[in-house]
Amino acid sequence: MPPVESSQLIIHMSRAYGSLNRLIGIVRQRCFEIESMNVQSESADHYRIQMVVVSERNVVHLLKKISQMSDVTSVSASKLTRVLETA
């Protein structure tokens, strides 16, 4: 099995109705677990979201899907330490 890795995402996105649900839905559908999530309202219209996700999948693919959401203004990711490695 490929190693499980965790990544931190920084997402700036609209506070439109359902935007957080849509974001979580995409993360879940792509087989990523949300380890932590910090939502800040940085303006009346926008959230800044700090999210740590864990998966065996490549985070680049998730990043591309999130960047395609019409709610999202920007998204970036950085790899955190490897939390688990299986033989």
């Binding site: 359902g18 849509r22 490549n58 693919h61 395609q68 959401m69």
Partner: protein, 555 residues
């Protein structure tokens, strides 16, 4: 003006001419507003039928279509069609009524969280909170559905918002769609270098060619380079089925020539395709010695399943123009042609009953210049169509590829025929699939839609029976349909003329009837219960492990 009237005005403003739907409590204000509109509404007999009919319209025109239903069960009955549209990237705006916003969250009558239910199967979902938002939401919904990678968009519309007074107006001119990104020069340079060095290149093309409006550029690219071509299910017709460079469909029910070429190529050009598991078989053994170039509008497809040497995002047509150049690959082309001759389909079945592959092959050969759309259901007949009908353009082949939804064919054909009134529309279906949306025969009758239905009846769920035979020790479980209704009498009960076909001598009559009948027609064709679809790659196996009718691997 109230919210419902504004919604209809905004739909008119987006160029909507038809809506497929079914009324009910929460959506009643919108249906009331429709009475004063030029938009034509088609009443189906089930909301799923409305969803698939809208899909048929969108698939055959590449224009965003609209379907509509009420809250609760009306909306959930749409879900299968919406999920199907999501899987196959079909542009569709889905409007659902909702209980008044002050009752949302109270378990009100016919209240379900449709917004939540639809979230994972739509590109975007809206719940209208104020009537003033309607022009923006409708504009955005159409832009999202019909741009980039197409898909369905939901507008959930609470009843009190439909009655809310507003001064808002439809937005004036249509804003331009977001521009498609340009070709990446470095990726193009690498791709050209790979092409120039390849000795055994192969094109593996999918539905993204047609959705990217790139069929003409694709054909020029193919003929200039001389590269052999295999298609996915949705790619069929990008290169005409009788084109010499076309080797057949790839994958689970692909042709032997196509699958051998994939296994033998040293450069794979994936164009508008996405390495779907039905096409690749065991992914690690798909084109095992090939480098790969991936041309796709959607950058999220790059690296999802296969690491490629060159990923060309953005406009498919423009990328193909940039890549077009003559190549010297004669020995490889001759090898693929030899495979094509060796493994050509045979149509000389000895038995007296109708042989579906031969009938479908002969039907496509007999077609004239009139546009002919084939709407498939899901099962063995779907694969026989893909294998044996020679499509001249991908838009003429409508099939539920990603979701594989039984019951798709008949209602989809309604939308196709209404959007293309001069064309001929034929549903190819099975006795399992037709019963999933048989009620839409009433819609055919109501609007006198001249759809032809070719039903292959083997009195079983044939594809499931075939898998049980091959992979479950021939233990047949719940596939028997020997108690089917009398389909001809059923069609007649809906007021649709029918004919029954039992012998191979009648195959020519079937073709003439499909070609020359003006109105709707239901053809009930009895086929051999034991007929299977060959070749077959067992699930999870490599495409080199094809089973043929003789039960041998051709790898």
């Amino acid at each position: 003006m109230n919210g419902a009237q504004l919604l209809i005005a905004c739909l008119e403003n987006e160029g909507v001419r038809d809506i497929w739907g079914y009324p009910g409590g929460a959506i009643m204000p919108v249906y009331d507003a429709l009475l004063d509109s030029n938009i034509k509404h088609y009443l189906t007999r089930h909301e799923q039928g409305a969803g698939f009919a809208a899909q048929g319209s969108a698939r055959s025109t590449n224009r965003t279509s609209v379907c509509m239903a009420t809250s609760g069960p009306g909306a959930t009955n749409l879900i299968t069609a919406v999920g199907d549209a999501y899987m196959d990237s079909i542009p569709m705006v889905v409007i659902t009524g909702q209980v008044p916003s002050y009752l949302m969250g109270t378990d009100a009558f016919q209240e379900l969280d449709v917004f939540g239910l639809m979230l994972p199967i739509t590109k975007h979902s809206y719940c209208v909170k104020h009537a003033d938002d309607i022009p923006r939401i409708v504009r955005e919904a159409f832009q999202l559905a019909g741009s980039g990678k197409f898909g369905p968009v939901l507008i959930d519309f609470p009843k009190d918002i439909a009655f809310q007074k507003t001064e808002a107006k439809p937005l004036p001119a249509t804003k331009d769609l977001p521009p498609i990104s340009h070709c990446d020069p470095e990726a193009l340079r690498i791709a050209k270098d790979l092409l120039a060095k390849a000795e055994c290149p192969l094109i593996y093309a999918g539905g993204g060619v047609e959705k990217g409006n790139a069929v003409a550029e694709f054909r020029t690219f193919v003929e200039t380079t001389g590269i052999p071509v295999v298609h996915t299910l949705h790619g069929l017709g990008c290169l005409p089925g009788n084109h010499p460079q076309f080797l057949g469909m790839v994958g689970m029910h692909g042709s032997e020539a196509a699958n051998k070429a994939v296994q033998g190529c040293d450069l794979l050009l994936a164009i508008g395709s996405r390495f779907d598991d039905r096409a690749t078989g065991k992914l690690t053994e798909f084109a095992p010695r090939a480098k790969a170039i991936h041309v796709n509008l959607d950058p999220a497809e790059f690296g999802k399943l296969r690491v490629v040497q060159s990923a060309l995002g953005g406009d498919v047509a423009q990328n193909l123009v940039e890549l077009t150049m003559p190549l010297s690959i004669k020995p490889w082309v001759e090898q693929t042609q030899e495979w094509k001759r060796t493994y050509a389909c045979r149509y000389d079945a000895p038995f007296d009953s109708v042989f579906a592959p031969r009938l479908l092959h002969d039907l496509s050969q007999a077609m004239d210049d009139r546009e002919t759309f084939i709407c498939c259901d899901v099962g063995q007949h779907q694969m026989w169509v893909a294998q044996h009908y020679k499509f001249t353009h991908p838009k003429y082949h409508l099939t539920s590829g990603g979701a594989g939804t039984m019951g798709f064919g008949l209602p989809a054909a309604l939308g196709v025929q209404q959007a293309n009134p001069q064309a001929r529309t034929i549903v190819v279906t099975g006795d399992g699939s037709i019963m999933m949306n048989i009620q839409e025969l009433a819609t055919i009758k109501r609007y006198n839609i001249p759809v032809k239905i070719l039903l292959f009846d083997n009195q079983a769920l044939g594809m499931v029976r075939q898998w049980q035979q091959l992979f479950f020790n021939n233990r047949e479980s719940e596939i028997d349909l020997s108690d089917n209704p009398d389909f001809c009498r059923l069609a007649e009960a809906f007021g649709i003329p029918s004919m029954r076909v039992v012998h191979r001598d009648q195959e020519a009559d079937v073709i003439q009837a499909l070609k020359n009948t003006d109105g709707p027609l239901f053809i009930h064709t009895i086929i051999d219960r034991a007929a299977n679809v060959w070749p077959l790659v067992p699930p999870g196996a490599s495409n080199s492990e094809m089973l043929t009718e003789e039960g041998v691997s051709v790898g």
